[in-house]
Symmetry: C2
Subunit: 204 residues, 2 copies
Amino acid sequence: MTDIAPLQKFVRRATELVERHGADEAALFADLEPLLKDLIRTDGWLPDAYRQPHPQFYQQYLLHADPLERWSVVSFVWGPGQKTPIHDHRVWGLVGVIEGAETGTSFVRRDDGRLVATGEERLERGDVVKVSPTVGDIHQVANAHADRVSISIHVYGGNIGAVARAVYDPETGAEKPFVSGYSNTAVPNLWDRSAEVRAGLQRA
Amino acid sequence: MTDIAPLQKFVRRATELVERHGADEAALFADLEPLLKDLIRTDGWLPDAYRQPHPQFYQQYLLHADPLERWSVVSFVWGPGQKTPIHDHRVWGLVGVIEGAETGTSFVRRDDGRLVATGEERLERGDVVKVSPTVGDIHQVANAHADRVSISIHVYGGNIGAVARAVYDPETGAEKPFVSGYSNTAVPNLWDRSAEVRAGLQRA
Ligand SMILES: [Fe+3]
Ligand SMILES: [Fe+3]
Ligand SMILES: [Mg+2]
């Protein structure tokens, strides 16, 4: 059985950081990045239901959304060769690879509206990258593998599935409204700590 | 398909109340009770997965836990004739009947440790009762029906499945440690508001 405790602890700590730092993005990035790196060091905590690829579409499984929609954490599952459109976020985000590898391509938009690719990097398991309107918000993410699933854990400064944002036409740079939603109707129950509490009572 | 929106709105508002009132139990009860009454006025928002009885045991389906474990909301499903042991909570709680009917019996503990029943009331659909160490914390809840399922929605001032509390022997009043846990490993995804956000974009 999956031990969900690492995700529960991540959710508690990330919530405390969001309460403490508010809109101070640099402080949040500084404190959240090590937490995410630690979370993706192992993957035994991620239940099977949130690592299932779809034959056609990359999947976005919500793992937790803050009840005030200040932040969220999502499992992205890429089938062989799958990729996102070029898109933005409008909030801060951290992307950490937990299985396989991904290719991230960054874009800036010129004054005439055209997109220019400014970098491409291969993200291996354990790597974390940042996005936001401040540090660069337009990118495209692809499974680096043509023959296997890759999975990344994404943390965002909002309920990302409900953020009004944009996808971009790679040829013209034209912007189209985009709301991503989620692939799942149920999220993991992080809060059954009864075994842990019972064990504590017996030690006491 | 279930429209989860009433539960999502309840969770947001209850979170705001818990942040505002903190440990002021009277203020919380005053503001939360009407929210719960409003929530249980209809039951179309409660997905089937969280209304399933078990042939032997009453079920406790977590619907949402606050990430800082300050509060939680749980669907209790009583099969025909099922009842809780006599138990306490150690935190504030509100119980609202959403389907069927329940019998609630309140107890006080005498100085010699014996339990005395101080009241029994039948709770119909739409009724809400309070529990807490302040207003009376020891009770027993039973399905009022011998031939059908009853369901109630419980709101507590903590992650109730992880609270170290007690059940009581009805004869002697002897107290036994109790941690209730949850019947479910997945909770509803309240946060896919993408259809609502897309509709708003089209109106704009
Ligand atoms: Fe992205
Ligand atoms: Fe109770
Ligand atoms: Mg009904």
